[in-house]
């Protein structure tokens, strides 16, 4: 029984094999087409390169965004605190305002308009 059914199976599969073998595509164009398609597809190394580049771009983008957020936050803090710092004066600042403080704080200039003695401009290192 088993041998008989085995023989029947073999015959049926052999018929299937004959029919399918006739429809097998030729090998050479198959390999050529596949190779051409593969040429368009990135290889493993290219994929790794693309992934690394994408990671770098993402990191750079993250850095830029982070620095922008920080700068914006710092500007907001400065804006919030700015008037306070501008208006605030130390209570001991008045002690520094001694007589002649303004003269000490400015740089003297030599010339007719600003001359203390009303003399004209003098030349340095020249003949009288």
């Amino acid at each position: 029984m088993s041998d008989e059914s085995d023989r029947r199976f073999r015959d049926a599969f052999a018929a299937l094999r004959r029919e399918e073998a006739a429809g097998a595509p030729p090998l050479t164009p198959m390999l050529a087409a596949r190779a051409a398609r593969r040429g368009l597809r990135p290889t493993g190394v290219a994929w790794a390169g693309l992934a690394a580049a994408a990671l770098l771009v993402a990191l750079a983008g993250h850095r830029v965004m982070e620095s922008r957020v920080r700068a914006r936050a710092a500007a907001e803090v400065a804006r919030a605190l700015g008037p306070f710092y501008g208006e605030w004066r130390s209570p001991t600042d008045a002690l520094l305002e001694t007589p002649g403080y303004e003269m000490l704080a400015t740089i003297p200039a030599i010339g007719p308009a600003d001359s203390l003695f009303g003399s004209g401009p003098t030349t340095t290192g020249g003949q009288p």
Partner: protein, 170 residues
């Protein structure tokens, strides 16, 4: 060393018809899928992504590569379908008329065999295909399928019993 790809190509050429038959079996007899799978498997072999270690016959090893490639394609296809369904663009169901022209050319016996095989579980179908179509031993079939010989034998016996029932004239 330079002759290696040439030798491989020659060997692939020698086994090409058999490999195509096996690719068809792995792809539910869909010719377009079988060609795609076979191309992918050949490229793996020629690229060196699949290397023959000499632990079995070349044909047994090549059939294993084809089987794995077909399984990868099935997984990829299932994912593609899942993604399409998720995004609301469900794929159209397989056209039952597809391959009708090929079926017309098939003899009655072959048609009956294919219809019976389609009703068997994958493993049973594979082991029967390897044994009766490719004339391998059950041990070789087990090697191709990546299962133990005992498991392959079990699939073989169950598959044969089921196929016998399915092919019985009604």
């Amino acid at each position: 060393m330079d002759d290696e790809p040439q030798d491989l190509q020659r060997e692939l050429g020698r086994l090409h018809a058999d490999s195509y038959g096996w690719a068809l079996a792995c792809c539910g007899r869909r010719t377009a899928d079988a060609r795609e799978v076979l191309q992918a498997a050949y490229l793996k072999v020629l690229d060196g992504r699949a290397r023959f270690g000499g632990r079995s016959r070349f044909r047994t090893w090549l059939f294993g590569v084809i089987r794995r490639t077909a399984a990868e394609e099935r997984r990829r296809d299932a994912l593609r379908r899942l993604r399409l369904v998720t995004f609301g663009d469900a794929p159209e169901p397989a056209d039952p008329a597809a391959g009708a022209a090929e079926r017309l050319e098939q003899s009655d016996d072959v048609r009956r065999l294919l219809s019976a095989l389609a009703r068997l579980p994958r493993r049973q179908r594979e082991v029967l295909d390897l044994v009766f179509y490719h004339e391998m031993s059950v041990a070789e079939a087990a090697d191709v399928m990546g299962v133990s010989v005992g498991s392959a034998r079990q699939h073989y016996e169950r598959g044969k019993a089921r196929l016998r029932v399915l092919l019985e004239p009604s």
